[in-house]
Symmetry: C2
Subunit: 332 residues, 2 copies
């Protein structure tokens, strides 16, 4: 647990909670988005609502200050009332999280898809301090699955079906393996953590010569690739091929010029990013259209020290209760 005090600040505070498959993180921020409190705990899937309420209460007590609203970032499908469904990694089929938390805590609760919350926060962070950065961004979270948070002109895109950004299930290899979603060859069967491990296991089972042990993490595979292991290079090359196509698809569909890659797999760092960048450079050389579309795009890796889900959840709560106006938030 850590807490910072901002001398003389007694303005309204909001909490942001990021509920992950293994860890739940709570931050409390002030109206200038400064973090006053941060605490993580292992996610308690059996009593998620009680745990979140308890974590927010702990923060209130620690800070000896009221919290005006809570934003919750969580995977799955979120309906406009704050109910969560299809959150496979959390074992949630349907949970009216927003209304249950509101009853427990007695303050406004705003529930958002974790990648969208992250994208919202990132859209407010200007790289290099430039003021020219567009407020449109796609945040691609690569972990056990792949999904994107999309912000267009400052507004979070949810879509009429509520599934905007579920790019992990665009077709990558129609001859590929069956995905958890039921389709064959979705992007995440190749480029998410479990897909990367599966490809290594397939190579090992086929008797191929590699330094990799069975069931490697994505990090293991990227490290082996950096060390020149042929099997690992083949896998990370395939990952880069498909992520490059996904990025091109986002740039050509949404017209977006700023793409940030995060999630557990992004901890691989340059071993993940550089092969993507080199492929995009090659496509820019081959195609005036790609040059015009992606030639001056920013493709960044999120620093592993950032907590964009919790920060974004807090930022959304702050905007929604009107501590800071920003048009379109929650309206799309």
């Amino acid at each position: 647990m850590s807490a910072a005090s901002v001398p003389g600040y007694d303005g309204p505070l909001v909490a942001g909670v990021d509920v992950g498959g293994t860890k739940t993180l709570v931050v409390v921020t002030d109206d200038l988005d400064r973090v006053l409190y941060e605490h993580a705990a292992p996610t308690d899937r059996t009593s998620l609502v009680d745990q979140i309420a308890g974590l927010v209460d702990d923060a209130r007590r620690h800070l000896e200050q009221d919290i005006a609203a809570v934003g919750v970032a969580i995977p799955g499908h979120i309906d406009p009332g704050g109910s969560v469904s299809m959150a496979v990694n959390l074992g949630i089929t349907h949970l009216p999280l927003g209304s249950m938390l509101q009853t427990e805590l007695g303050i406004p609760i705003f529930v958002e898809h974790d990648a969208r919350a992250a994208a919202f926060w990132l859209s407010e962070q200007v790289p290099g301090g430039s003021t020219q950065s567009p407020a449109s961004i796609a945040f691609i979270a690569i972990g056990t699955g792949i999904s994107a948070g999309i912000v267009l002109d400052g507004a979070v895109l949810r879509g009429d079906n509520g599934f905007a950004g579920e790019v992990g299930h665009i077709a990558a290899d129609p001859e590929g393996v069956v995905c958890a979603c039921g389709l064959r060859g979705c992007l995440e069967t190749i480029a998410a953590g479990p897909g990367i491990a599966r490809q290594a296991d397939e190579a090992i089972a086929a008797g191929r010569n590699t330094v990799l042990s069975p069931h490697p993490s994505a990090g293991d595979v990227f490290r082996a690739a950096s060390a020149g292991d042929e099997v690992a290079l083949e896998i990370t090359g395939r990952v880069a091929d498909h992520l490059t196509r996904a990025i091109r698809s986002l740039a050509l569909t949404l017209g977006i010029k700023r793409i940030v890659i995060g999630g557990g797999v992004a901890a691989a760092g340059p071993a993940l990013l550089e092969p993507i960048r080199s492929r995009i450079l090659r496509e820019c050389a081959d195609s005036p259209l790609v040059q015009a579309t992606l030639g001056d795009a920013s493709i960044e890796l999120l620093s592993p020290t950032e907590a964009p889900g919790a920060r974004g959840a807090a930022a959304i709560a702050r905007h929604r209760i009107g501590l800071r106006e920003r048009e379109g938030v929650g309206e799309r």
Copy 2:
């Protein structure tokens, strides 16, 4: 040339001009989007600005009424000032169309990408008269190329790079042929008119048994498929496979639930649409995610009698000069 008179109407009129590779169509509509005048002429690529100005002047003279503004729908990249570039099928590298026409005609000119203009108009047309229809739509134009016009919550999506909707160049078959854009295996190398013809020619060159003659139109191929020709069925099946993936990608990226397919290839009618619908039904059965995303989506073919580009250009001009308020138009 045709003209309808609306008894007693003397309100402001707008013109919409759709500049196509072979034909240029002008419509004049009133503030209730009723068509008062319609005229088509072969596109004169060598003097496009003069031709458009002349067509609008003809309409003014014929109607004996002023025209308040002109919308122009045209392929290519359109910058915010109305300049057109990269309009390959029209032979335009760069043309300051908006400012040149404004000088010629002395009234406000609004230039928009043709698929976006069409999508804008379609987003205002409610299928089945329902008032529940979302104002978000993707219009996929399939002709010599493929591009999409995207409207989200009533606002035309242009994108920070101005290339939003260029879905013809998402990766379909990375082992495929080189596209006009310079990349390999773009969607339009398989599913646009010339790509369909090329696949037929390849089968003929390989000595395969087919009723098709060399260089068939897309319509020829779809007709042969309907008659049971094996080669044609193989091609139209591949086209449907890839268009289904593109539709899934749009639904999962944008969260869109209404998709309209138009352009010359769409004249194939049910022979194009039904194979796509049956594939989507199959994916819905295989995948709860696709069921939730596309299960209640509307996938329609545009009637060949509609002129959505010209109508959309007129509608955009009408909205931009404030004859009818609609938030967000032209702002994205």
